[in-house]
Assembly symmetry: C2
Homo-oligomer: 215 residues x 2
DNA sequence: GTCAAAATGTACCGTTTAGTTAAATTGTCA
DNA sequence: TGACAATTTAACTAAACGGTACATTTTGAC
């Protein structure tokens, strides 16, 4: 019976979808943790239930795998945005709710934020090349356009701020909350990242965004 | 004379400081561009006027070089902050000036921002280990403490927002403006990053920060 | 001048790493 | 059931990469 340890694994069940999903999930974690250059294909393979060969079989090369990971991450964002319903709210409340949703979403998806930061280190090269992400048409801006139009109409919003600016402003704080947590915590302490601290920041961001657009 | 091409470079002038500074400047660019794992020691050496050997002679190894680069970057930040004088201004004006300074400073130091983002990818591991940076005691918070105290005293500032929160809020937008420019531009267009667009964002950040702290 | 220590150049080495080869097993469908 | 395509395993390779050995030159103290 001491042969078994050395014998080839000579029986398996084919399950392409499962294998692909497995690789993608592990690769997402590893790329998010170590970056594109820092991630090791062998490390990804080791954590998978399959072999390195399968990574190359399904994703071509390391870059192809990274792009698939990035595309899957953006697809999840799109799905999240779609779930948000703001139609029945007045503009101020809708904006507040959107800010809170954005804050929570980023906080709940740290590896998405890390992938975005990694992508920025690479000057968004892979994002640019991805046709799948181009087709995604993220909907945050559409929602803000509605909110801004209504707000300006009813006179509660300034008219000199664009939806894109507003999206930028909201994103900046919600992304930074994750992307720069490590350095900020070390230099200025961790109070902002306790549960109470996060609740405070959430309110602060709402206040700053509403403060910026209010007439 | 056809020997000269192959002969060893058999004469030079010693200049340790110059060599170190040369390596550090080039390494800053390369690390900021490619990240810690992505940067190549050979590439840094190639761009230098000296050799790879000298990198190891002065900085020990790749990590030591990276840490020196990081420390030099933070030292420049500290120097920048020290140059800012806000004493004679009223709290609102001082805060506005600080926001504008922070915005401009980040915009003028893109490789600093990139290094910070890279450091965050690595969970601030090198920042934590650096005694030089620990001693630096960045002064932005001190300035904000003064401003907040005065502002609350004279009744123009809310009293439930801390200097650290405020610093976080200001940093988030000023950092994001550089750190996530590539992905944002690709997804939502480049209008915000023209000269006019940047002036608009600068005003927007001022409005949002003042809007957040005003009574 | 001499000598030791600091600084520099050239050539090289051992590992790590992305990527491949070749063969075996499983699934499908005529 | 048998041929053929899709999937999976294990072992291998070439190149890139961080790091080093060793010789040589410069500098400054005496």
């Amino acid at each position: 019976m001491n042969e078994t340890a050395k014998t080839r694994k000579n029986s398996w069940r084919q399950d392409p979808d499962r294998v692909k999903a497995d690789i993608l999930a592990i690769a997402t974690e590893v790329f998010a943790t170590f970056g594109l250059a820092g991630a090791r294909v062998d490390e990804i393979a080791r954590r998978t239930q399959t072999s390195k060969r399968m990574i190359y079989y399904y994703f071509g090369d390391k870059n192809g795998l990274y792009m698939s990971v990035l595309e899957a991450a953006y697809a999840r964002v799109r799905a999240g945005e779609d779930a948000l319903k703001l139609d029945e709210l007045d503009p101020i409340s809708a904006l507040q709710r959107l800010v809170e949703f954005t804050f929570d979403f980023h906080r709940d998806n740290p590896s998405y934020v890390r992938l975005v930061q990694i992508e920025n280190i690479h000057d968004a090269d892979h994002l640019k090349r991805s046709e799948r992400i181009a087709k995604l048409n993220l909907s945050a801006i559409d929602k803000l356009e509605d909110i801004c139009r209504n707000g300006i109409e009813e006179g509660s919003f300034r008219s000199d701020i664009s939806p894109v600016q507003l999206h930028w402003l909201i994103s900046s704080s919600c992304v930074f909350n994750l992307s720069n947590r490590a350095t900020f915590r070390h230099l200025y302490g961790g109070d902002l990242f306790t549960e109470a601290g996060q609740a405070g920041l959430r309110k602060l961001i709402v206040a700053s965004v509403l403060g910026a657009i209010r007439c």
